[in-house]
Subunit: 335 residues, 2 copies
Amino acid sequence: MNVRDVGEFGLIRRLIQKVQERRGGPDNASPSGIRLLVDAGDDTAAWRVGDVIELFTTDTVVEGVHFTEETVSWLDLGWKIMAANVSDIAAMGGVPLYALVTLGLPPETGLSSLDDLYEGILALGNDYGVRILGGDVVRSPVTFVTISLTGLNDGALLMRSAARPGDRLAVTGYLGSSAGGLELLKHACKTSEEVAECLRQAHRRPRPCVNQGRILSREDVKAAIDVSDGLLDDLGKLCEASGVAARVERDAVPIHPALKEVFPQKYLEFALGGGEDYQLLFAAAPSVIERVVPMLTPSATVIGDVVEGPPGKVTLLGPGGEEVPGPQGGWDHFG
Amino acid sequence: MNVRDVGEFGLIRRLIQKVQERRGGPDNASPSGIRLLVDAGDDTAAWRVGDVIELFTTDTVVEGVHFTEETVSWLDLGWKIMAANVSDIAAMGGVPLYALVTLGLPPETGLSSLDDLYEGILALGNDYGVRILGGDVVRSPVTFVTISLTGLNDGALLMRSAARPGDRLAVTGYLGSSAGGLELLKHACKTSEEVAECLRQAHRRPRPCVNQGRILSREDVKAAIDVSDGLLDDLGKLCEASGVAARVERDAVPIHPALKEVFPQKYLEFALGGGEDYQLLFAAAPSVIERVVPMLTPSATVIGDVVEGPPGKVTLLGPGGEEVPGPQGGWDHFG
């Protein structure tokens, strides 16, 4: 058996199980009064130290797997890897704080490329109050960038495991724009430059929903995840962690007019299965959803319900409430 | 100009400078009362939150660069990458706490290999009280492992920048054994199995000096670094950060009898330039050194002095106090 056989999420489950079975030894946190709040399996880990809740996450991109020099500039790459990390903090209702940056680099990497990479990392990081405190540089035959990021939460964590039957589901912003932008970067397409640029920017310069996450956390929403691997995929993870199922009204999924215009045949596939939108998907009681959705700018949209059912099962509903098939969803790194 | 032209440490200096010039944006730490104590450039970053000082570090290994399957088993690899991270915490006088593990893996990686890798990570981690809280797995054409680790310090940080002229220099344990062990793993050599195994174990299963670091911190030592890249190299970094120079008495450098026996021609080269020993090199006033060295088990040895001089300059002294040439020192990832 190898990694491809079990896939990314089978592998993650296996590793989490192994760690939880086998870990032991002294608990260095106890004498300091640090209390672990969120273990492996959510968007970030979390612990309480004094009056503060700290968050801890990491995310990596590898050349040829997550990006190619053809579709992503060094500047965009820096922006995107920092954005992916900040989005995990946003999905817990937190703000980002301290980062370590690890670069795996071929020796022939140009210094001007690295300058651009750091411009991107710093541009996104500065916008969101991230402070870089160091990292590691290593030689590697393939370029990779890993960021480890801490964050802070002021008391109400958004958890993948907190969705309950009867909750309504909603999502910030638009979905599928990043996948549409990537498609445009790979294959030129007849469309106005303005429309194309709107989608390309969604792919190249995603903006994590930190402010929205803080509003959700303050307004009593308990369950959220960021949409990094595709709506149906990430909703499946939220439901699995919560032990619930979900129904999504296909025609309620928010799709930007530009995406519909450029990809009249494929926009739904992009919106349901495309990754890297970094919007927040959240669940709460109907009264909470009704109050919080209008507070979220630029927008948020109710897209379905949490129901009892096989944990992780997501059903897509057509306009008459009938079950309809979804696209082949999600991004499996080893698939 | 590319990365090879400036080398690993030129690149690190360049990146630290860029970050310090360009970073800005809100300081998310301020409202929470978190205070940054150690920025980029030491063994770890550090900040104070309430009564607690937290440490933050990361370290990466890449196949074909830091290890090959011929000389390092998956189990050893897991042990060693966790040891490298824990050693950074030890060098600040701290204890390790929470870890995130990132794996870059070719899809054909066997699950049993990963089981072994995690056995090694957990074996070292459990011994030192590390709790793994998740991480990331990504596809990669080349195997790499990145660990990000937090730690705790109870009030007295060991800093690279705190050595002062007049301090004496000392080091824990023996130096060069890991480099000797690696040489034995690459080239068989006529020697008793017991002696060979002693050196191979030093390479395959290094033990970070967490207890020793805590003693140093408690006993008023202010300056330390872990020996990961070679004695002369790491001493140079300590001196550069402190704005001082150093003199090392070559014949005082502690060398295990097994290393002298197996490599009668090369033991000095290994002891002065070989990496991955993960001992602690420290500097303090003579009275402090006199008190603390006997407290350290299994051993610690005085090897020289801190002096005024060009920052980072390390001079090697022969038996009559005359200057002698050192080996070509240090490990440059891009050299």
